[in-house]
């Protein structure tokens, strides 16, 4: 197997398995728990190393998995006690566990063949040469086996528990009523995250793991309202980041993991700006349109009472001259307003529109506004919180 192919396969497996579990982290607003786990598994790896005395993949995965679940448990314990908010709970738990790991490594550095730099930003370039031996026969890169294993495990998890994951993510109350335990599914998911993180940890480093967990699914989240599509897009963007990042790294001769994170960020930035429905441009344009429409309605209602010269209106509403001109022009084009003796006044059509009632006048744009802010159906509706913090 050529090194290039080995690296691409490892990176592909990592990005796909991260995207699968990351989708649920993003939807459950637990992206930072992924970050926390990716750092907090360090002592688990070190302890597993001490117990077995070598870098055996399985004990390390188990040790890290235990620490990952412990992290989630501690964060929730602090949070539930009511003494710390969730962000603070995460912020105190993972540095403490990470510190423990660093201290263990430093104190027993002679016995530990773990490189701290590698753990944090990883060196996937070495992956093709770290081979798995069974007896004397080489079975190919170890990282490829480990990460393909987690990919299969994650795919199986989501395949088998798709409905359960979906309902606990979008409506935990309904899930509990249907007899699906949100807590159980939560811990199942968190175990999967821990195992994925540690599988990817050594080959690509903690930071690329966070990037692969969060960035591709978040990019997909900008583009779709459907869970299935989000999973597929997330995996697709993950693979694209891996491939594009590798090319970039070869071109510039820089860190492969760093380049992959950078490319995933570029793809995200493109979606953030340009997503047709949820992107920044679309959102700002929609807001502008809405503002324009509301201004038009306001002007119509005011003119229905009395015709007024432009200067008065400008003062009355505190608008700029440009804003008043644009609003007026739109209404004139629609034949609702005309200029009469240097003042603005309603036409017959304008009067008829107002006569349909201020309620009808205002209901239309506002209804549309709430439609724009909280799209109905699919992911969006389940995701927007009831308190309307959009």
């Amino acid at each position: 197997m050529s090194p290039t192919l080995a690296i691409l396969l490892v990176a592909g497996a990592v990005s796909a398995s991260c995207a699968i579990v990351g989708t649920f982290l993003v939807l459950r607003r637990m992206a930072l728990l992924g970050d926390a786990i990716s750092h907090a598994v360090l002592p688990g790896i070190v302890i597993a190393f001490f117990l077995t005395g070598r870098r055996a993949p399985l004990p390390m995965v188990i040790g890290a998995g235990v620490l990952g679940v412990l992290t989630v448990f501690l964060v929730e314990m602090f949070h539930r006690s009511g003494r710390l908010k969730e962000d603070a709970s995460i912020g105190v738990v993972f540095p403490a566990l990470f510190s423990l790991g660093v201290i263990l490594i430093s104190r027993y550095a002679a016995q530990v063949d773990l490189d701290l730099d590698c753990v944090l930003y990883g060196e996937i370039a070495y992956a093709p040469w770290d081979l798995l031996f069974v007896g004397d026969a080489s079975w190919g890169p170890k990282a490829l086996w480990v990460n393909t294993g987690t990919l299969v495990a994650n795919a199986l998890l989501v395949g088998l528990f798709y409905k359960e994951l979906k309902v606990t993510t979008f409506d935990p109350g309904l899930a509990a009523a249907l007899g699906v335990s949100p807590v159980l599914i939560h811990y199942l998911l968190m175990s999967a995250v821990s195992v994925t993180v540690v599988g990817a940890f050594e080959s690509v480093g903690a930071i690329l793991v966070v990037a692969m967990l969060v960035v591709p699914p978040a990019t997909a989240y900008l583009l779709t309202d459907r869970l299935g599509a989000m999973l597929a897009l997330g995996v697709g963007f993950g693979l694209a980041s891996a491939g594009g990042g590798y090319a970039l790294a070869r071109w510039w001769d820089v860190s492969i993991a760093g380049a992959m994170a950078t490319v995933s960020g570029l793809i995200f930035a493109a979606a953030l700006v340009g997503s047709p429905r949820y992107g920044v441009v679309a959102k700002l344009a929609a807001r502008r349109r809405l503002g324009g429409r509301l201004a038009g309605q306001l002007l119509l209602l005011h003119l229905a009472e009395t015709a007024a010269p432009a200067a008065t209106l400008q003062q009355r509403f505190g608008w700029s001259e440009r804003r008043l001109r644009r609003t007026t022009e739109r209404l004139v084009r629609r034949g609702l307003v005309e200029r009469r003796n240097g003042a603005l006044a309603l036409t017959a059509a304008g009067a008829a529109a107002v006569a349909r009632g201020p309620g009808a006048q205002l209901a239309h744009p506002l209804a549309e506004a709430s439609g724009e802010l909280a799209p109905s159906g699919g992911l969006a509706r389940a995701q927007e919180p009831a308190d309307g913090s959009v």
């Binding site: 992206a31 990470f98 510190s99 430093s106 969060v214 380049a259 960020g265």
Partner: protein, 442 residues
Amino acid sequence: MLDGVLSFTARNVLLGATILGVSGGVLGCFALLRRQSLLGDALAHAALPGVCLAFLLTGSKAPLPLFVGALAAGLAASLVILAAVRWSRIKEDSAIGIVLSVFFGFGIVLLTWIQKLPAGNQSGLDKFLFGQAATLVWEDVRVMAALAALALATVALFYKELKILAFDPDYAASLGLPMGRIEMLLTLLLVTVVVLGLQTVGVVLIVATLVTPAAAARQWTENLGVMIVASAGIGAASGVVGALASASVPRLPTGPVIVIVASAVLVVSLLFAPQRGLAWSRVRERRVTRRIRRENLLKDLYRVGEAEGTFARLVPAPRLMGLRGQSPARLAASARPLVGAGLVERRGDAMRLTEEGRREAARVVRSHRLWELYLTRRLELPSDHVHRDAEAMEHALTPETVAELDRLLGYPPVDPHGRPIPPPEAAETGTGPRRQAAEARP
């Protein structure tokens, strides 16, 4: 004074860790209260590409240009987070995670790029990643002290504005205060602390120097000023302990020890802080639970006596255990203090109410039945729905409330189930030591 005991390196580390502890402790309070604990984490990771770019542009690794680079990158990162949250559907946690990992990844790209350059290998930029406090030189400490002084002076100057930002930014905005600019100022200050800490504790652990002391201090007080002072104290103490420990024990890294010490202080605070301590609330809960169990036992004895028409007969323990499915041990535990207070008389395995105990039990039963009647009359709940609620309320109602209920309901003789409500004189208890012993304060 310290020169005699510590080496120059150890003195630098000690001063650096203390400066970082104080400034991190102060700024961390605002981050914590604004629920932005993890913003510091993102800013720390985002500083890396800034530091690298600054080095590429100026070719210098003097503290000041690197600081400016980190500051610019931190500000860019916070703007990206703000824009993504405000103008797209991305939620804050994802935005922080994305900025953190992508900026850091790009920083690694730049770092590997720099290492290829002829001068790159000596740049020593990678000490920013994990923090190598031992590499602090006197010049670094002086820059740190200046930056920290600047940051703390700014906090003092804008204390009122930062305080209202932490507690009620919407109200402040409605008063016309420029909250956007104040938020920017806080971000700027956080970036300053992050940059201070990069070399001492490293990218990953900076978040703990901000959050952990503040979270610990929060447990001890409800006052922001006190919290800030306490947090700065905890931060400084962790810094001092971390620096001294790593100076005296071989191969003990400074940053992680600082974090572990602060975390230990946090755990102690969470458990034992006077008002909010989890240990105390556990004790209070247990005390209330025990009182409720005692009152329930009195009530059970009363109801058995009521059903049999006499309180004089001894009630066998198995019968009492059967009423609530209690274990013998739990029944005995509830009975013991009641016997001691002279409310219950115990003969072998059976017990009955004393005169005093009958009055105390009547008080509980009276609360229970009046509450049931109140629910059926005032809230028009069906009479088979009120028992469970009354089971809880009977332990919480004060004598004044019970008297008021009695008056409101027109001094009723019976409850909704037709059972007699004990009159106030039957429920009058002495206020002597015996009652106090039986009724622990909540």
